[in-house]
Subunit: 332 residues, 2 copies
């Protein structure tokens, strides 16, 4: 196992220390529990946004804690759902009088544990609501999922629901706009190399030297199929057509595009992917309102990428453009 770590047992703990040391103006860690919260939490007069999941997808979700996005990120063990207690502690630390919205990626463990945490918080009288992100069009049901998986589109939920919360909107309003994002966001991924969960110490799958997996999940869950590596434009076309089959777009409609590197893919290649995505959308008369290229929802050291499209209306555009100031995403 060739990893730049100390002890597999302490990777999350040491990472969280490193995050707080790097970004002390943004985040602090709760005592005795792996939760990052906004430095000045709880913030009154706004709905608090809490997300999280297994670690290994950085900058998700700790990198999105800050003004205009999340109030807390609950950090599970690598690729492992956080516990209900952990989530409950996060909720208690950030909730104000307007309540808390939990943004959950659709994995069975996350669903169960965020639900249990909600029940615990409700027993304390905390107002709480939940949304489940399931943007991955690749496969119905999967290794850890009933229904579709939640992947990089989750970052758009953080951004837009986070902006809405900053306006002082009610929990119902913030939840409604998060659900609007979820209804209009679709993603699909692919991978060319596996990743190594530190505690496992070996790659989580293997691909031949000329083989790619289309529709790969962010934990190495199987996608739709494996095929021989072809020029990336062909791969992008296949992925985009699958997204567009699920969410048809008419000429004149506007989208935000996210080209997300899973970790090891050079930025050079992500921009080549972006070029093809823009070309296909242009051919269809779809207007790209805003583009994000980088690493937003990773899979340890996996090489590959995902493409996310978010269909926009005027409300979503305003909230997408609203200021945000977090370690991983800043909108001026």
């Amino acid at each position: 196992m060739k990893k730049l770590i100390n002890n597999p047992e302490f990777v999350v703990e040491e990472m969280l220390e490193g995050i707080v040391m790097a970004h002390p103006d943004y985040v602090r860690k709760l005592e005795n529990v792996d939760v990052l919260v906004r430095k000045n939490s709880p913030i009154s007069g706004k709905v608090a946004l809490v997300s999280g999941g297994g670690s290994g997808h950085e900058p998700a979700h700790g990198g999105y804690v800050g003004m205009g996005m999340l109030d807390a990120a609950v950090c599970g063990a690598v690729f492992t759902s956080p516990t209900p207690d952990q989530i409950y502690e996060a909720v208690k630390a950030v909730h104000g009088e307007l309540g808390v919205l939990l943004v959950v990626k659709n994995y069975t463990g996350d669903i169960m544990n965020f639900e249990m945490a909600s029940e615990m918080a409700e027993m304390d009288g905390i107002k709480i609501a939940r949304v489940v992100v399931n943007d991955d069009v690749a496969v119905e049901n999967s290794l850890f999922t009933a229904g579709r998986r939640g992947i990089a589109g989750t970052v758009f939920v953080h951004k837009i629901a986070g902006a809405k919360a900053e306006t002082g909107a009610s929990l119902e309003e913030v939840k409604a706009v998060a659900e609007k994002v979820i209804a209009n966001v679709r993603s699909m991924g692919m991978a060319i190399t596996p990743c190594i969960v530190p505690a496992a110490g070996k790659p989580n799958f293997s691909l031949a030297q000329d083989e790619v997996e289309i529709g790969m999940g962010i934990h190495g869950e199987p996608g739709t199929h494996r095929e021989t590596l072809s020029p990336v434009d062909e791969i992008v076309e296949h992925m985009l057509l699958k997204i567009l089959a699920d969410m048809p777009l008419e000429p004149g409609e506007q989208v935000a595009v996210m080209i997300n590197g899973l970790a090891a893919t050079p930025l050079m290649e992500l921009y080549i992917v972006n070029r093809k995505v823009h070309k296909i959308l242009e051919e269809k008369g779809v207007k790209v309102y805003k583009t994000f290229v980088g690493e937003f929802m990773t899979s340890l050291e996996m090489a590959g990428f995902s493409v996310t499209l978010l269909k926009l209306d005027d409300e979503l555009k305003v909230l997408l453009d609203a200021p945000a100031d977090t370690p991983a995403l800043k909108v001026l």
Copy 2:
């Protein structure tokens, strides 16, 4: 060769198209030459900053074109110096009455070609100055370098000289602050896997399954030695001591820290590296003023990282904190 590209011959061209499509509010490409300039260039009333080098180090340098940093990035072929003509076209496109500062990383080809371009521009009566960044303490002289290599510390030169230029300072003043950064910035890198130059089609070096190269350059140039992979804290300690031997820091002095991923290193691991860097500096009584963790100066898909320390005074702190708005780096 497992790369997400179309044709190795067109990677830079297609990447530049993808960058402009992603960031049309920030950059445009000059016609018939691989140069990215600020969308509204030339900007009057300020010194123009031009940098560049071989491609494959993204987001350097195109990602740093924008308010508060560069006016132009000259993009050579992968790991290949841009031509004098290319650099000259960049200078002509962005220069104003206050002149142009060229920020050059110390590689023999870059030095030669930026110098030739300077001479061409001077013959046109353009006021021009050059600084050479040589922050890598690992080795004196190298595969493509006389003296020390220029690596991730270059990004601090872009940030600080760029901020100075925005104040309307003279070419002499902007050059002086760039040289102050260069005098106070030190870096060192390491790698655990090689990268593949698209035109070569095979890895540019090989390391055994348990082997790392300490002091590796950003093109795969040899470092100081190879060794068996040890816990990353030990590697960090070795690298930091080498930096501090070259640039001693007294208790109470302040630094900016950059933990730079070469591409394939998970953000989780970069934060674990950051933790150790902060711990060592804290033990020495050195105060970390600001920390940057991410991918700033990459090497295609290489796995590894570099650590950069910039010793700060009041002037450098103000300029480091000044607003910047570029695709890859935003300071609010």
